[in-house]
């Protein structure tokens, strides 16, 4: 398996930028313990144990229907929008169990942003899209909002493209721009973690590569968990990769390890394209 030789040296990236904690030992952002999830009678997640580290890009790969979206939506409890869902186990986010009923889900989502498969800007102006989050969290000052909008758009590498049309409807943007706008919308509330569910699957290759390099930038300040069905993408941008199959984590490893020397036969079959 030497297909992905262009992959960057993971260890090398870790040291650049000042990381929030001790550079040698990263702290755990999300710790999933014995997580099971059912849609009615169908079990979609089976006994998941997985630790996500700070300032890393964690990729989740696997064939479609294996529970990737379900898992990532459990991390911000969006999965609860499906009324028939039942969950057991623990997900510790910064050492607190978010599955506890007493954990306020709005607080969680203020710290954990999400980017969806299909760009979903609000049918408002570009400016209002970014200002929405800060506004609902009580920021009113026009001056502060202006600054947040500019910083967020810069952070999502889209400022130069939209700075002259902030008051135009976001739906006038291209798909790739809309997706970066959605990333900017996340950044506007200064999250700790950004969840991304196949953020480039609806985009053309150029937009995709823009977003990939954006993710590389973002991980200096944020922890990123990204679902992707594109293995080259996982190999290019992630530090760790989890391979899901039928609701189980088959293998979770450093990305270069998993793509060069997977320990499970099924992982190898998947990344060499023998199924999925």
């Amino acid at each position: 398996m030497e297909v992905f030789t262009e992959k960057k040296n993971v260890k090398g990236i870790q040291s650049d930028g000042e990381s929030k904690k001790d550079a040698s030992k990263k702290s755990i952002v999300y710790d999933t313990k014995d997580l099971n999830l059912w849609y009615g009678e169908d079990q979609a997640l089976k006994n998941i144990n997985l630790s996500v580290y700070e300032n890393e890009v964690t990729a989740i790969i696997g064939p479609s229907g294996c529970g990737k979206s379900t898992y990532i939506k459990t991390l911000n409890r969006m999965v609860e929008m499906v009324p028939i869902v039942r969950i057991s186990g623990e997900i510790l986010y910064r050492e607190k169990n978010i599955l506890n009923k007493s954990y306020k889900v709005e607080d969680l989502r203020t710290r954990v942003g999400m980017v969806f498969q299909k760009p979903n800007p609000f049918p408002k102006s570009i400016y209002e899209n970014i200002a929405y989050g800060p506004k609902i969290h009580g920021i009113r000052s026009k001056k502060v909002l202006d600054e947040i909008v500019e910083e967020s758009l810069k952070g999502a590498a889209i400022w130069d493209e939209v700075k002259d049309r902030l008051n135009e409807n976001a739906y006038g943007l291209s798909g790739g721009q809309q997706q970066r706008l959605c990333i900017a919308r996340c950044l506007a509330i200064e999250p700790d973690v950004i969840l991304m569910d196949e953020p480039t699957s609806a985009l053309d290759p150029i937009s995709t590569s823009k977003i990939e390099s954006l993710i590389q930038e973002l991980k200096k300040n944020y922890s990123i968990i990204i679902v992707t069905h594109n293995m080259q993408q996982a190999a290019r941008i992630s530090d760790k990769t989890a391979f899901f199959l039928n609701g189980e984590v088959i293998e979770y490893e450093n990305t270069n390890k998993i793509f060069s020397n997977p320990s499970d036969k099924r992982t190898e079959d998947y990344i060499t394209g023998r199924f999925g």
Binding site: D107, P123, Y132, I136, H137, R185
Partner: protein
């Protein structure tokens, strides 16, 4: 291809090609109707358009006749409406205020309650509850207005008189309120349609930012559905303007020029009912005044409908 067909034939013992050919032959009669249908439909469409134009022309010519006898300015600025007797005066303002005030009262009821019902149905109710309540609403919308009028006169007015001692037995308040109740289902149903067609991905986007249900509703769903919601309001208003039975029964026929909602007032529609019922001799000023009032009413509702159309085209937030 051949192979596949043959395989099918041996399986089903049917010759599909033959069957199709047969059907084609029996279709030749159908082809003839096919030819004449467009012409037929066109004729029907032309008839309905001509009828409408005819009505408008009649309205217009009779209205012009009226303005030959009563100066147009006197009509639109006159606060006195005494259509009978030797010294008849025709000022439409009492009817205009009656219509506008009853409409405003109705919308004070219908807009908030209708919108909140729509929000509940679209954002909070379970799928099951929504499927039961929505048809119920539509049934409510089908109750004949005379029933509402009766309800206003025999139930609401006496009830209100317990709280508002000065309320006249016929007054504009009670029919206004009942008209509002009548319009609630329409506003609720149309607004609900507009809100449920807002894609779920938008709600998800907002929720993922930590928005509460209420914030998602008010700051994402309602703005995204605003064109449909406003259009439902405007249609509600035009329904209230054109409503006849309820005001005729419960508001009496005093041609008061007043803003006191406890008093009896007459609306344009109720005036038309009254005068038509009173056998106005054809060719009299009284007779022509019917057309002038009807024309005013027509222009009112037309403007409202145009506004509704404009809103649903212009205010739309695209998604």
């Amino acid at each position: 291809m051949e192979g596949v067909l043959k395989l099918q034939n041996t399986k089903t013992n049917l010759n599909i090609r033959d069957l199709i050919e047969e059907k084609k032959k029996s279709k030749s009669v159908g082809n003839l109707t096919e030819k004449f249908i467009p012409g037929f439909l066109f004729t029907i469409a032309v008839i309905s358009i001509l009828t409408t134009i005819g009505i408008m022309l009649t309205l217009l010519t009779e209205t012009i006749m009226f303005f030959k006898e009563v100066p147009i300015l006197d009509f639109f600025t006159g606060t006195n409406l005494k259509p009978l007797g030797a010294e008849a005066t025709f000022g439409i303002l009492p009817l205009l205020t009656g219509t506008i005030i009853s409409t405003i009262i109705a919308m004070f009821v219908a807009i908030p309650i209708g919108l909140m019902t729509a929000i509940f149905l679209s954002e909070y109710a379970s799928e099951k509850l929504r499927k039961t309540l929505k048809p119920l609403l539509e049934i409510l919308a089908g109750i004949p207005t005379i029933v509402y009028g009766f309800f206003a006169f025999t139930f609401v007015t006496p009830l209100l008189r317990n709280f508002i001692p000065g309320l006249e037995p016929t007054n504009i308040l009670s029919p206004g309120l009942v008209m509002g109740i009548m319009i609630i289902p329409m506003v609720a149903s149309l607004s609900e349609d507009a809100m449920s067609s807002v894609p779920n991905s938008m709600r998800e986007g907002a929720m993922a930012l930590g928005a509460t249900k209420l914030e998602v509703t008010w700051k994402v769903v309602v703005p995204a559905a605003i064109s449909g919601i406003l259009a439902s309001f405007v249609l509600g208003i035009s329904r209230a303007i054109g409503e006849t039975m309820i005001v005729t029964i419960a508001s009496g026929s005093s041609k008061n020029f007043t803003f006191d909602i406890t008093q009896s007032m007459q609306t344009m529609t109720a005036y038309i009912v009254e005068v038509t019922g009173g056998e106005a001799p054809a060719g009299s000023t009284l007779y022509y005044s019917l057309y002038a009032v009807a024309m005013t009413l027509f222009v009112f509702t037309l403007v409202m409908n145009l506004i509704a159309q404009y809103i649903s085209r212009k205010v739309r937030e695209e998604y």
